[in-house]
Symmetry: C2
Subunit: 208 residues, 2 copies
């Protein structure tokens, strides 16, 4: 299962990588229960039996994909939240990075949230948890409050407000786009505009 990356010759991915790529694509589009092993095999350009050769079962293949996705997503956010940048810069940076990420991976939020709802205990394995994950940011908010730069706000509220406003518009795209009567281009522009407007909104809300 473990293999040197240098076995890749001439731009070709290893079979294992092709499988993971194909599986991620199909699982993210259809969800775990909606995905078909045949479709994953087709997507990877290999045979169905090979899926079982590398990963014993659909369950195990899904787990591999899910862990890969999660470990590339959540820690990145923690890094941004706890960086040493000034608060306002940090908020703008997070908005920019997340807008970029979700623009390129439209299905990411609903994939993660849906699969976690189906199997809540899946979370406990891979990613950092506990109150200290927001420690740096919490201290920063406290310092800014004591300097009189912002209102007092709990770090959980701050994080939830920021992430909600950034992620939800992507998760709810199909609903909101239809309801608001926008076409694809208009909604994409709307999301780009929010990349600036959300940080502005938040910094306004924090003004003492």
């Amino acid at each position: 299962m473990v293999k040197s990356p240098y076995t890749c010759i001439m731009n070709e991915l290893s079979t294992e990588q092709k499988i993971i790529e194909g599986a991620r694509k199909v699982f993210m589009a259809k969800g775990k229960s909606g995905a078909r092993m045949q479709e994953i095999a087709d997507e990877a350009g290999i045979n169905k039996a090979l899926l079982h050769y590398y990963y014993r079962s659909k369950d195990q293949l899904f787990n591999a994909v899910f862990e890969e996705v999660m470990s590339g997503f959540v820690p990145r956010l923690f890094g941004l939240l706890n960086s040493d940048l000034p608060l306002e810069v940090k908020v703008y940076q997070i908005a920019e990075r997340y807008t970029e990420l979700l623009t390129n991976h439209r299905e990411l939020p609903l994939f993660i949230l849906s699969e976690l709802q189906n199997d809540p205990k899946r979370i406990t394995n891979k990613i950092p948890t506990g109150r200290e994950v927001f420690k740096n940011l919490e201290d920063q908010l406290k310092r800014e409050f004591e300097k009189g730069n912002i209102r007092e706000i709990k770090v959980e509220m701050f994080v939830m407000n920021l992430i909600s406003m950034l992620v939800f518009p992507f998760a709810g795209r199909n609903l909101f786009q239809s309801v608001a009567g926008m076409d694809n281009d208009q909604y994409t522009a709307f999301l780009q505009e929010r990349m600036i407007e959300v940080p502005k909104f938040i910094m306004n809300a924090l003004k003492p």
Copy 2:
């Protein structure tokens, strides 16, 4: 298929109602592709064959459930958004109603959003769409701005910010609760606190 409500005797739901109830429960918990007809039948306390007698196929049963859920959810929001209440009261009221609704129907947001992602064109049928659905609210925001009570803000931004901050914490409960190291009671308290904090946050952000 159409039946008088008075055929219900002694607190018993009609078979059709029992089916819809059971189907909604299972579909919302497992999603369309994860749901099993047998489980729906069990939940409704009837036989599997009866499901097909009333609704020809799983697809049609799902459509019936989905339309019922949607038509009881989105229009309610429009009513609140476009009511004639003063802006601040309106925001507090929406927060209260939505927190209450989602507390009792935890799976609602991910159910709707996931199924819409699987089948985007499903939306076009049942609910009101187009720019005029926010007309009243848009006028209200404009008036308040002209009176100097609030900053200028596009109605789509306002609505998206409000709904995001209210709904996302429910959709992302499993993720955020684990990451923040809260237990169930703590997170429930967090959500209750947001019912007040989100409107406050929004009204602050709107201050000129």
